[in-house]
């Protein structure tokens, strides 16, 4: 099933913080975060693995609650370059490696 992202859209002023949430109805092995700017390909930000191991992107952090099958992406002191659509992708266990993306959260950072 497709993960649910919230909010659908958020508008910030430069320097403000934002949190984007991603939740799934199934048990997750990993959560992947990407940012896509208009007309461009998605760019990898971060993977969170079951068991707590985290890989990351400077100035952006994330958490993964395995019990609730939820992940949150934290953007602090936002910059204009943070604008774009953020997608979470989820991977369950099993042998079918099917990364399922949410519908995205549109983040707009204004001066």
């Amino acid at each position: 099933q497709q993960p649910v992202q919230s909010p659908q859209a958020v508008i910030l002023r430069e320097g403000e913080d934002a949190v984007i949430n991603c939740s799934s109805s199934k048990a997750l092995y990993s959560v992947h975060w990407y940012r896509q700017k208009h007309g461009e390909a998605p760019v990898f930000l971060m993977i969170l693995l079951k068991g707590g191991e985290q890989k990351g992107h400077e100035k952006i952090s994330a958490s993964f609650n395995e019990k609730k099958q939820q992940s949150s992406l934290y953007l602090t002191a936002s910059q204009l370059s943070y604008s774009g659509t953020y997608f979470c992708g989820t991977l369950g266990g099993g042998s079918n490696y099917k990364l399922t993306f949410g519908k995205g959260t549109l983040l707009t950072v204004n001066p």
Binding site: S30, F44, K98, F101, K103, G104
Partner: protein, 113 residues
Amino acid sequence: DAGVTQSPTHLIKTRGQHVTLRCSPISGHKSVSWYQQVLGQGPQFIFQYYEKEERGRGNFPDRFSARQFPNYSSELNVNALLLGDSALYLCASSLGMGASEQYFGPGTRLTVT
């Protein structure tokens, strides 16, 4: 180092035709995944190939097929095109399969008329 490359950039086809999309992964990457993205939606998983074998398949009809070559490049084939196949087709490469960082190519914009 070169990133993921895809060809062609844009393509216009007629309903019922066949199309082949190509992808070259980042050097050293052994896995290629294909996604379909329609406007306003997240990428939808089609296939993942690792070491030339299919390792994952999404909910797409049998009209969609793919393969990976010994040099790890890949082709996505779509037969009997429908209007609903119009989308951006993205290829992503990674070192391994599953929970690995994926790096996307610029995509192929397919329009079916």
